[in-house]
Symmetry: C2
Subunit: 322 residues, 2 copies
C-alpha cells in the first residue's frame, strides 16, 4: 500500500483522562471511559512519497504549523519503525469539527492518522494495536479507535489500549458556549495539575475507583448510576484543575449556568447529567427519550446538538498511487 | 457580676477553616488566618436570672429557635462549669449583619456571647482563654476575639486559640450578590467534605503549609504574596467543596464573574485578590490605595462595601441588676 484514507470521530469522556504516568509513551495515570460520537469526523489521507525529503501535513487544505507537523511526523516515525520503511509521506486531513464547537480535535485526528498511516505503510493492526498506536499521538485518540463506549486501560505500553464496553444506549447534548480560544491548552494544564495541585495523587486514586464504578454501571445497564458518576467525576476534574497553582478555570459563568440548568431538569424528572472537558462547553449525558426535551430546554443557554454513539476509526479507501 | 454586655465583629478568613479533627471540642484539622473587620458587629447582653429554670435567647428582639438556643446554652454550660455557678441566664443579642449580606453570623455572635457570659459569670479570662471559650461555640468565633489579623492554631483544647498577627495594612471589598439562603449550611458541607471528598486529606495537609506561607508573608509585610496565597487557597477550598459527593457549589455564575473581574483588575495594575466563604458572595482583599477604585469597578456586579481591620471582642458594659 502506498496510500490510505481513514475516518474517525471525537469522543467525550465520562470518566476523564487527566494526568500521565509516562509523558513519552503517553501512558495515563488512570484508566478512563468515553463515548465515541457520531458527529464531527476527521478524514485523513496518508500518501507515501518516494521523492519527499520530509513529511508534509495539511489540515483543511492549509499547510499546518511546524509544531503540528512535528507531532504527525513523530507518529509516522513509529509506524515506519515497525514497518521497516523509510519513505516520507504527505498527510492531508479534513476536520469537520466546527472551529467554534470547542471539541478537542486531537482524538479524532490522531486516531484517523494512525489508521491511515498503518494501512498506507502496510501494517495489519488489530483494534488493540491500532488503539495503542493512536495513543502515541494523543492519549484520548486511543479511545476514538473504538466505536461507542470505550474503556482505555492504564498500564504499560502493551497494556494501555482501549476496547469496547457494553452499556446503556445514551445520547449526548453538546452545549456550545464559546468561540474563544482556550486560555490554557489541556496538555499544559494537565502538566500544571500534576506538578502543583496538592489534590493530584488523590485525583488519580479516585479516578481508579470511579472507573470501576462506571464499568459496573455499564455492565448493569444502569444509566442513572453512570450519569451520577459522570457528573460527580466532572466536578472533581474541574476541582482538581481549579486547585492548581496558579488556579486554572475552564468553566465560565455560562458553563456554571448550564450545570445549574441540568440540575433543575433532573429535579423536574429528566435523566440528564453534565460533564465538561478542558473548555467552557458543557456536554449533557442523557437518554434517547430525554435528549430532545433536554436539548430544547438548554437551547436558551447555548447552541445545542444531539449526538449518539459513533463508529470507530476505519480505513475507507486504499490504493497504490500511480 | 450578674450582667454584662459585649460586642464583637465578624472575621473573613484568608486561610480558611474547613474541617475538624474533633467535632465535640471544635478543634480544627489545620490552623487558619483571618481579618476581624470593622463592620457589622453583634452586641450581646447576658443577664443572670436566679428565678429562671432555663436559659433564654433572643436575637434582634425575637425569641430564637430551639436549636439556636441550645447552642447558646451549651456555651453557657461551659462557663457555668468553670465559674461553679448554676444560675441560668437571659441572653439578648443584636446582630448588625444585614440578613442579605451573606456573612456568617456565628463568629461575631459566639465571640460576643463568650465575652459577655464570662464577664456576667465573674470569670477573668485572658485573650487566649476567651478565644478558646468562643471556639467552643463556633470555630471561627475564636478569631473574632482578636482585633485585625488573627491566626487560629490547630492543636489540642489548650493549644487551639487565636492570637494577633502583625501584617500589611489591608482593606476588604465585600461584594454582596445574593439574598437567598445557603443551599447547604457550612457545618453540614464541612462534614460532607470530610466524609466523601477524596481530596480532603490533601486539603488539610496543604492548608498547613499554606498557613505557614501566609504567616511568612505577614511577617515580611508582603501584601502581594499574602493576596496570591489568599486567592489560591480560596480556589482550593471551593475545589474541595465541589469534589464532595454529592458535589456542593457555593459559587454562582455571578460569583465566578467577580473572580474574573478581579483578575482583570489585577491585570490592569490593581492590587486585589478574591476569596469567598461558604456562600455566593465574594470578598476582595486589597490595599488602602486600591480599595476605592476596586469597589467602584465591582459595583456593577453587586453591592460593595469597603471594610478594614476591626477591634476584638470586648465587654462594653457590666453591672449588678437590681
Amino acid at each position: 500500500m502506498t496510500r490510505a484514507v481513514a475516518r474517525s470521530h471525537p469522543n467525550i469522556a465520562l470518566v476523564k483522562y487527566w494526568g500521565k504516568q509516562n509523558e513519552q509513551l503517553i501512558l495515563p495515570a488512570a484508566g478512563s471511559l468515553s463515548l465515541t460520537i457520531d458527529a464531527f469526523p476527521t478524514t485523513t489521507e496518508v500518501t507515501l512519497d518516494d521523492r519527499a525529503t520530509a513529511d508534509t501535513f495539511s489540515l483543511n487544505g492549509v499547510p499546518a504549523a511546524v509544531g503540528q507537523t512535528a507531532r504527525v511526523s513523530a507518529l509516522l516515525d513509529i509506524v515506519r519503525a515497525v514497518a521497516g520503511v523509510d519513505t516520507f509521506a504527505n498527510v492531508d486531513s479534513i476536520s469537520e469539527i466546527p472551529t467554534d464547537a470547542g471539541l478537542a480535535s486531537s482524538a479524532a485526528g490522531f486516531s484517523a492518522l494512525a489508521a491511515a498511516a498503518a494501512a498506507a505503510y502496510g501494517l495489519e493492526l488489530d483494534s488493540r494495536a491500532l488503539s495503542r498506536l493512536a495513543r502515541r499521538g494523543s492519549g484520548s485518540a486511543s479511545r476514538s479507535v473504538i466505536p461507542g463506549l470505550a474503556v482505555w486501560h492504564a498500564g504499560n505500553d502493551e497494556e494501555s489500549f482501549a476496547e469496547p464496553v457494553n452499556g446503556p444506549d445514551v445520547r449526548m447534548v453538546i452545549v456550545t458556549l464559546s468561540t474563544g480560544a482556550k486560555p490554557v491548552s489541556s496538555r499544559e494544564a494537565m502538566r500544571t495539575c500534576m506538578l502543583t495541585s496538592p489534590f493530584y495523587p488523590a485525583w488519580v486514586a479516585s479516578t481508579k475507583w470511579t472507573l470501576d464504578g462506571a464499568l459496573e454501571a455499564c455492565r448493569d445497564n444502569d444509566f442513572t448510576r453512570l450519569g451520577r458518576i459522570t457528573e460527580l467525576h466532572a466536578n472533581r476534574m474541574h476541582a482538581l484543575i481549579q486547585s492548581a497553582d496558579p488556579p486554572i478555570r475552564y468553566l465560565t459563568p455560562q458553563s456554571v449556568a448550564v450545570f445549574d440548568a441540568v440540575a433543575q431538569l433532573r429535579a423536574a424528572g429528566r435523566s440528564c447529567y453534565a460533564t465538561a472537558d478542558a473548555g467552557p462547553n458543557v456536554v449533557v449525558l442523557t437518554t434517547p427519550e430525554d435528549a430532545e426535551p433536554v436539548a430544547r430546554h438548554l437551547a436558551e443557554l447555548g447552541e445545542t446538538r444531539i449526538v449518539g454513539a459513533g463508529p470507530g476509526a476505519a480505513v475507507i479507501e486504499r490504493g497504490i498511487e500511480p
